[in-house]
């Protein structure tokens, strides 16, 4: 009897199915970003679903680089759909929290099923994103004191929303694993 395995498609680790699934996570981030923007206009609120889907992506494909791929695809899709007025900064805005989530996954592989783990990662990744635009503000001549104050306020809101969004992830991941819809991430060298 022969076992047929899936072909590796991207970055020597992702199968095509996994890559498409991660790309859908990017689609959801973009969709929710567009929708929320229209209704709420609250600072940092887009981090609610951004962190949710980034952490979910880690749960779907528990491999190093999965969330980074989501961040990359989200920024490029945002640009294509006209949501990337900030230019190259939009890349950093999504890649930075994504890389942090990947790093957390590398250090603590099973964190997505822990509410505390998701909360910590969600808050921290959201906070760092708030500092992305400080470079531009410094170039424009904003005083350091104001930059720090603004960044703190921004970080506070982003962290709050990101943390709230991340809390729902463990329950969803557990339910999907229980129903055999996603792997539990314990097989092989997933973080290679």
């Amino acid at each position: 009897m022969e076992t047929k395995t899936e072909r590796i498609y991207l970055w020597r680790r992702f199968t095509l199915r996994e890559a498409v699934l991660l790309c859908f996570c990017a689609t959801f981030i973009v969709l929710t970003r567009a929708g929320l923007r229209l209704h709420l206009h609250m600072p940092g609120h887009v981090m609610f679903f951004t962190m949710f889907f980034m952490l979910l992506a880690r749960g779907f494909v528990p491999k190093l680089g999965s969330v980074t791929l989501v961040g990359l695809l989200t920024s490029l899709t945002s640009v294509l759909l006209g949501m990337g007025a900030s230019g190259p900064i939009v890349l950093v805005k999504f890649l930075l929290p994504a890389v942090l989530v990947d790093l957390a996954g590398f250090l603590v592989p099973g964190f997505v099923t822990s509410a505390l783990g998701c909360l910590a990662v969600g808050v921290f990744a959201s906070i760092t994103r708030a500092g992305v635009s400080t470079g531009v503000e410094y170039l424009m001549g904003m005083e350091e004191e104001i930059i720090i104050g603004k960044a703190l306020i921004s970080a506070g809101f982003s962290g709050l929303w990101g943390g709230l969004g991340s809390l729902a992830v463990p329950a969803i991941i557990r339910r999907l694993r229980l129903n055999g819809l996603i792997d539990d991430g314990t097989e092989g060298s997933l973080d290679a």
């Binding site: 009897m1 022969e2 076992t3 047929k4 395995t5 899936e6 339910r175 229980l178 129903n179 055999g180 819809l181």
Partner: protein
Amino acid sequence: MCLNQRLIKDFLRLNELLLDIDRLSYRYPGAAHPALSNVSFSVTEGECICLTGHSGCGKSTLLLAIMGLLRGGRSSGTVKIAQGTGAAPWSSPAGMVFQNAESQLICTSVAEEVAFGPENLCVPAGEIGRRVMEALKAVGMAEHLARSPERFSAGQKQRVAIASVLAMQPKLLLLDEPTSQLDAGGKAELVQILGELKRQGYTLILAEHDPRPFADLIDRYLMLELGCLLRVERSAPGIEFFHSGDAEVAPCCRAEGNCIEAAGIELAYPETGTVLNGVNLTVGRGERLHLFGRNGAGKSSLLRCLSGLECPDRGEVVLCGMKNPQPEELPGKVGVLFQNPARQLFGETVQEEVAFTLQRQGLERSEWEPRVAEALEICRISHLVERAPLTLSFGEQHRVALAAVLAPRPELLLLDEPFAGLDFPQRLALLGILGELPRSLGATVVIVSHDELPDSRWADRSLILSGGVLGERSC
């Protein structure tokens, strides 16, 4: 016949052989039983073969095995596909059109979609352009090059999917349940296209649980059951296969008063224009109504207007005594089941899923538990009460969704394309369940579909939606 003549005949016959499957078996990861078991058959060039059988018999799995797309399981046996006579350079030996055209189309314009396959085969750019136009002409979609398939009908999407495969110039064309989303008109168009392709020399393998529309094309029927090839037939499965039999239809249970009173419903969309043009509909209590119409006629739009999801531009709806109700007012009084109802499942157990609406209505466990049991009994899935809905088969999930809608004992049940994706016995069984509801629950049942009902005796009344207006049909 002398030995040399026999050898020449065998040699010629081997040259015509396009597909040879020898003792193919396959088991999905973690599955208790194999999906395919020792299947052997061969297909010669220019033939049209139909794989047929009930849901779960292995038709789709067999097609995926031929394409080499099965992953992660255990297989044995061989699948050999010849290049075929006159095979073009940069061509694929086989191409497959999947059941769900929506997720098969992955590009943003028709031209890109059809060019996708040849691009992957590294066909030179100049040749790709020629192939794209040829393939689109073959399916009658050449004038839609620039358009996004997003707003296409199911039939048009199907045709673009076929074109995208034809552009790879395969000799063998596999189609998985190609008529599942099509109305009668769409099926007729598809039969015409496939007939033309067969005349051009394509070899076709169809997986269909209802092969009747293709009877004139099909050379052989391969009957599958539980992954095994039962028999090969030259003629269509017997009429009794699709006969509703002598099963009794529950008698009419009309009661006094009306359940639905809709007057002067008008609805128009900016993109498609007027969809409903002064629709008047009255449905009596306990009635079983079949609302028929081709794809795009406005049936789903009418259902959305009735259930308050869409505000008509004009007109009034009274549903179970509620005037122009909002969707939030309907749970408990009106049950609505949309197409592909498995999409709404989320419970940890079937019981939790079915109890959801009852719990939202504030019922205690002692009150909702018997109602859940009753609904499961009606839908004949009591044995699944502790199972996780997301692990069930498509047909079982369908019934769980129905049970969830029946549990609150609604006065009115609206069903949008409830038979989509079900084979004939499943459709008949579902129709039987729905036929009993006026008697068992006192419910009025309205079925909206683009297909004829499996049993034409079911409906007390049949209407047709065409040109934005409703008209009577003779039952």
